[in-house]
């Protein structure tokens, strides 16, 4: 009892302005509220060549602001940084502010090569709730939404019953209880496993009362939708917290509008809870929509003379379809449209090698330069309707996401036997490789991972073959059951939080609830699994932010590699130009090529008294691979000897170059 009291006192003493207890020894740093963020942006804007764009006013009355840094009137490629789009990651906003102040300070040289568009917080309403008292984890904007479709709006939110400033949990001993305390750490709860002879004790609720008397607690809290899940790629309908439809929220609409008005945006970086650099988003989802092989619908197959059961590579199909229709301009995406192939859901196979190399560099950087060695929990995957996936799949630009922190992984003993496959191993395998392990090995692996008996190897193989599951889902399942086992059955994140700082759990304490009667209130404090204690922010951000500079240096850069001229006859000249991409990344990405964004390289040839015998005054180029990818253009011109012509390669978002050549033997270069 004395111990608990001590913890409570410590928690009270360590309360910061954020409403979160900080561990001892924290620096003075505090997270900044949306209003302070606005102020900081104005200060930064005052220090450099900057423009503040008020993109929109949020339903909660906050400003959604974009800070533009860089040379005014320049046509430099731009990098758009969107932080805290889901409003659930305070450190992301701090990282964006630090990036901005670096760019007007020590990193000023960076502004010679790029423009920067920085949104420090994409969801200010949701983020503002972080500073609310009591603190509850809710990230929706200020729109009034009737979540439960009854006769009132936002009438049943959480209530801080014990007045400790946090919305935690309530547990009630009940015949229908399914939860029990974890043996080693009784403040943690886990679901009782009847199979192991465990008997449920507690019912679990969020702290609150049934304000509207409909029998459900906290089912219609304040606020509306999370704009961070309101983007139009893979939007999930019928979830009120995602918005009524894609782009229903003013925040997502304003950001999309800005992005499409600014074709110079060459890269999107997001700071938030996801991390696309730590491990590459794998191409394992079911629909194979890019770079793959396709079956042809029956009616069309008959018409093209193909077998509807066979999968054909897209290049071959394109040739056949062009011949059959006589339409030479038929594009790959038009054909994909005809084939009824839906939107891409996996990174294009030809983009993946670039992402893989960048991921390797990131992990080396984290280890060797940032010196952040410790193992940490895996960041969550992309949510449906997120900005990260939209920026790659629909906006077509290279997109990277950085988290900056997850809870450290509690130390566990490796129990792996020799030759045993870990979840990580399986996650990296293709479906085919996994099937190739053979039924016996798979059966053994299933048994070890504690899969239910009816979950047989044959079934798994069939499921993989039919595309109903993939190695990623198997690995996920294995990890889950493994974490459960190792964490004594508690939620792995809660377990990690407990190991990280056990004082962030409010000890269970009895409370007399108006409708439930006797309950206990306690459990983890809001936001603690989402963002580090304020005292760690400065160091974490400073150490990791330099990778942003490295990413910026990878952008494609289009230039003219060579121009050659050859006199074919008196006044007839052949001009050949090689256009090259000197950056690391391709231009555009392969997915960008498919969604026709960004606009391609435009090459023009101009000169006085030039007649084009072959070739065009203005042409567009296809995709330029990274690291020197080249495309050649040639013209046959009728033009007086000794004249000059100018070849220019231009892009909106990857630079360009102009060269003037004199038409003399041995000219060019």
């Amino acid at each position: 009892m004395r111990q608990i009291a001590a913890i409570l006192t410590a928690a009270a003493v360590c309360l910061t302005a954020t409403g979160i207890p900080s561990p001892a020894g924290a620096e003075d740093f505090q997270y900044r509220s949306p209003a302070s963020v606005e102020k900081e942006l104005k200060t930064i804007a005052g220090q450099g060549t900057a423009t503040l764009h008020q993109l929109t006013k949020t339903p909660g009355g906050n400003d959604l602001t974009l800070l533009q840094l860089g040379k005014k009137g320049s046509d430099l490629p731009a990098i758009m940084v969107v932080a805290n789009m889901e409003g659930n990651c305070p450190i992301a906003t701090e990282a964006a502010l630090k990036l901005a102040s670096n760019l007007v300070g020590d990193w000023q040289a960076e502004l010679d090569s790029h423009r920067w568009y920085i949104i420090a917080c994409g969801n200010p309403d949701g983020y503002a709730r972080f500073f609310d008292k009591p603190a509850a984890e809710s990230f929706v904007n200020g729109l009034a939404v009737n979540d439960d479709n009854d006769d009132a709006v936002s009438e049943d939110g959480p209530d801080d019953l014990n007045g400790d400033g946090y919305i935690t949990k309530m547990r009630q001993a009940h015949p229908e209880g399914k939860w029990i305390a974890v043996t080693d750490h009784p403040v943690l709860l886990k679901k009782a496993d009847e199979g192991k002879g465990e008997k449920g004790v507690w019912r679990l609720f969020d702290e609150g009362i049934d304000n509207d008397g409909d029998g459900t607690i906290n089912e219609d809290g304040p606020g509306g939708a999370n704009p961070g899940r309101n983007f139009p790629h893979n939007f999930e309908h019928y979830q009120s917290a995602n918005g009524r439809w894609p782009v229903s929220e003013v925040e997502s609409r304003a950001i999309l509008g800005f992005a499409f008005d600014h074709p110079e945006i060459a890269m999107v970086l997001t700071f938030g809870r996801t991390n696309s650099l730590k491990s590459v988003p794998e191409a394992t989802k079911k629909a194979e929509a890019a770079g793959g092989k396709y079956k042809v619908p029956e009616r069309m197959a008959g018409w093209l003379g193909l077998d509807p059961e066979t999968e054909y590579p897209i290049d071959e199909l394109l040739e056949v379809a062009r011949d059959a229709t006589g339409w030479k301009e038929l594009t790959e995406d038009q054909l994909l449209q005809w084939l009824g192939v839906g939107a891409a859901v996996n990174p294009d196979k030809k983009d993946v090698p670039y992402w893989t190399e960048i991921s390797k560099r990131y992990n080396d950087f984290i280890k060797d330069e940032a010196e952040l060695e410790g193992e940490r929990l895996d960041p969550p995957g992309f949510s449906d309707g997120c900005i990260e996936e939209w920026a790659y799949y629909q906006y077509g630009v290279p997109t990277f996401s950085m988290d900056f922190w997850t809870l450290p992984k509690p130390k566990k003993e490796e129990k792996k036997e020799e030759g045993e496959l870990s979840a990580d191993d399986i996650e990296k395998m293709s479906n085919e490789d996994f099937i190739a392990l053979g039924e016996e090995k798979i059966a053994e692996m299933l048994k070890k991972s504690g899969a239910p008996a009816q979950f047989t190897a044959t079934m798994v193989i069939k499921g993989l073959e039919a595309g109903q599951m993939d190695t990623k889902t198997i690995a996920k399942y294995m990890k889950k059951s493994k974490d459960k086992e190792e964490g004594g059955g508690a939620d792995a994140t809660e377990e990690a939080l407990y190991a990280f700082d056990s004082t962030t759990f409010v000890p269970w304490k009895s409370y007399n609830h108006p409708t439930l009667g006797k309950v206990e209130i306690g459990g983890p404090v809001a936001y603690r699994t989402l963002t580090p204690p304020a005292g760690q922010v400065v160091e974490l951000v400073d150490k990791q932010l330099p990778f942003v500079q490295k990413l910026a240096s990878l952008l494609p850069t289009v230039g003219i590699k060579d121009v050659k001229v050859e006199r074919k006859s008196a006044g007839v000249w052949k001009v050949e130009a090689w256009i090259a991409n000197n950056g690391f990344l391709p231009f555009p990405t392969h997915q960008g090529k498919r969604c026709q964004r960004p606009l391609p390289t435009i090459v023009t040839l101009a000169g006085s008294s030039v007649e084009f015998l072959e070739g065009k005054e203005r042409s567009t180029l296809g995709l330029l691979d990274g690291s020197g990818g080249t495309q050649k253009l040639s013209w046959l011109l009728q033009v007086p000897d000794g004249q000059t012509v100018t070849v220019e390669a231009r892009t909106f978002s990857a630079g360009g170059e102009k060269r003037t050549i004199t038409l003399t033997e041995g000219g060019g270069r």
């Binding site: 479709n149 029998g215 782009v247 301009e329 839906g342």
Partner: protein
């Protein structure tokens, strides 16, 4: 003398008042011509000025070129606010070249308003429900269809600059009215290796030839030049965004479906209409008019939309199959199965996102341009027009002998700046997808009648208290019933299963009573009750198509008990009983 004159005058006045009005009533709209942009606005203003108590005219937003998007709301405000009554939303011409959809909307508005006094069925509709009519959705392109050189397939998109050919320039290679006749027609060029020749009986008609035969012409597409020198003609015309692919339900991007736009509701008009319909949860049905083909289409438009419940399909079938009789020749079809897949269309948004039933009306069948003895054996012949219909040869005879040759522009020589000598000619602007005006009056009337038939089937709910039983000890059992006289339920099955809107509420209240229990009566005879555990005085429900819902309360106390039925999609009802 003076007195006699006065009497005569009075008689004359009385006679004038008693005379039956013409069908077009107080505002004479005529449907033997087309309403161009300004004429549509004038007609709407005339109606508004003539019937201030029955209609309102407001702009719900502005288009890309700054034109107002007009909404006419028709209901008798003396019998209740527009939002308190079940609503029917009707729009037309989301594709700017599908102009006759607007005439249907104008006719519907005029018929409802002019007919209010004299036609009881219409008066009943205008009293009991609300019509929201947007006669022109694509205001810019329909306006320009009349003012600019155009053709029947031109102007589908709104005027959103778009780089169709991905060359870094937007809208740089539009059609060109080469011969300056105000229309965009077809171009043909003599070519001994071409695959077209003229019909031996009618040189206006082009016939495709197959090897080993050789043609004499090559068709060069629509009138135009290669403005940007990229080797293609008219490949980047103003727009292209198809607003009927820009609505947000399961919207798919450009690379999956051309015309989708940059993001859902990126067009100003789709945004304005989305906001408007979302602000009117009383809308129960929507009817969006297009051309052509003679179809009454329902969703789903794509597999992504998911299945429709058999309960919803029953409602659709009832309304659609009657439509086939009201508009003979029009077929009631399922968009995805019978036509083609679409993502992000208005109809799917209304149904799958907002839970509102709806049809797309594809106005005009080219089969109506017949030139034959009606009972002549109709042998379906091979047909080269995408929309089906009569062959060009027969259409030419129809043109010559029924329309005095006004539908076709004879081929005429022209010196093309890029191709040299070509010929320009073909079916004119107001043809092919658009009926000759003499067919228009019947078309607008029948289609408007289908809308009115549907409006006659929006939820109409009766509330009865069919039992008040004294249980003794100060307790009463009260049973109430809501019954829907019409085909459209208060909430579609889709709405119910996805929880899109608030359900209907049956509520009991009274200062002298305490509600002891409440429940839904599954079967009154057998006393089968599903109890409502929480807040039993407020029971959430919905009223099915031609069906009923019954509830019961056990209350303690005495005095007045007021029972109310509250619905977003039907007029509220209440009954008061004395205990």
């Amino acid at each position: 003398m003076i007195a006699r004159c006065l009497i005569a005058l009075a008689l004359l006045t009385a006679v004038t008042l008693a005379a039956p009005r013409t069908l077009a009533g107080d505002v004479n709209l005529s449907f033997e011509h087309w309403y161009d942009g300004p004429a549509v606005e004038k007609a709407l203003n005339d109606l508004r000025n003539a019937y201030p108590g029955l209609c309102q005219l407001q702009s719900i937003g502005q288009s890309e070129e700054g034109r107002d998007i007009w909404l006419m709301t028709i209901t008798n405000t003396k019998t209740g606010k527009d939002t308190d009554k079940p609503g029917v939303y009707v729009d037309g011409t989301i594709h700017g070249n599908e102009i006759q959809a607007t005439e249907v909307c104008l006719y519907l508005a005029a018929r409802l308003l002019n007919g209010y006094d004299d036609i009881p069925m219409i008066r009943n509709l205008v009293d009991s429900c609300t019509f929201y009519i947007v006669p022109v959705v694509n205001v810019d392109s329909r306006w320009r269809f009349f003012t600019d050189a155009s053709g029947f397939n031109i102007g589908r998109s709104p005027r959103v600059p778009y780089d169709d050919d991905n060359d870094g320039l937007a809208d740089e290679d539009d059609y060109d009215d080469l011969d300056g006749d105000g229309e965009i027609l077809r171009m043909r060029i003599r070519d001994p290796f071409g695959d077209w020749k003229t019909h031996p009986d009618d040189p206006r008609v082009m016939v495709r030839v197959e090897p080993p035969l050789r043609g004499e012409w090559r068709m060069l597409g629509s009138e135009g030049i290669d403005n940007d020198g990229d080797g293609q003609i008219n490949e980047d015309t103003p727009g292209y965004l198809d607003m009927n692919r820009n609505y947000p339900f399961k919207w798919q991007p450009e690379y999956v479906q051309g015309g989708a736009g940059r993001f859902p509701t990126c067009a100003k008009v789709t945004k304005a209409i989305t906001d408007f319909v979302a602000s009117r949860p009383n809308i129960c049905f929507n009817y969006a008019f297009h051309n052509s083909g003679g179809m009454i289409l329902r969703g789903p438009g794509s597999k992504l939309a998911g299945l429709y419940s058999p309960k919803d399909i029953e409602v659709y079938d009832f309304l659609g199959q009657e439509g086939e009789k009201i508009v003979p020749g029009y077929e009631y079809l399922v968009s995805m199965d019978d036509l083609y897949t679409t993502h992000g269309d208005f109809d799917e948004f209304m149904f799958s996102n907002l839970g509102i039933y709806g049809f797309v009306g594809e106005l005009f069948r080219s089969e109506e341009e017949q030139y034959r003895v009606p009972d002549e054996d109709e042998e379906e012949e091979e047909d080269d027009s995408w929309f089906g219909g009569t062959r060009d040869e027969e259409k030419q005879k129809f043109n010559d002998f029924v329309n005095q040759g006004t539908m076709f522009r004879e081929w005429k020589k022209f010196n093309h700046p890029q191709f040299g000598e070509i010929e320009i000619g073909g079916w004119r602007k107001f043809t092919t997808r658009i009926p000759p005006t003499f067919l228009l009056p019947e078309m607008v009337h029948r289609n408007a009648s289908h809308v009115m038939f549907i409006a006659g089937h929006v939820p109409s709910i009766d509330l009865d208290v069919f039992e008040v039983k004294d249980l003794g000890g100060g307790l009463h059992r009260i049973r109430a019933r809501v019954f829907n006289n019409n085909a459209i339920p208060t909430l579609s099955a889709k709405n119910l299963s996805k929880g899109m809107t608030r359900k209907d509420i049956l509520r009991i209240e009274g200062s002298g009573i305490e509600v002891v229990s409440g429940g839904v009566v599954d079967d009154a005879l057998y006393d089968r009750i599903s109890p409502v555990e929480h807040r039993p005085w407020m029971i959430f429900t919905s009223v099915p198509s031609f069906g009923k819902r019954e509830v019961q309360w056990i209350v303690r106390g005495s005095g007045a008990a007021k029972i109310t039925f509250e619905s977003l999609k039907a007029t509220n009802r209440s009954r008061t009983i004395q205990l």
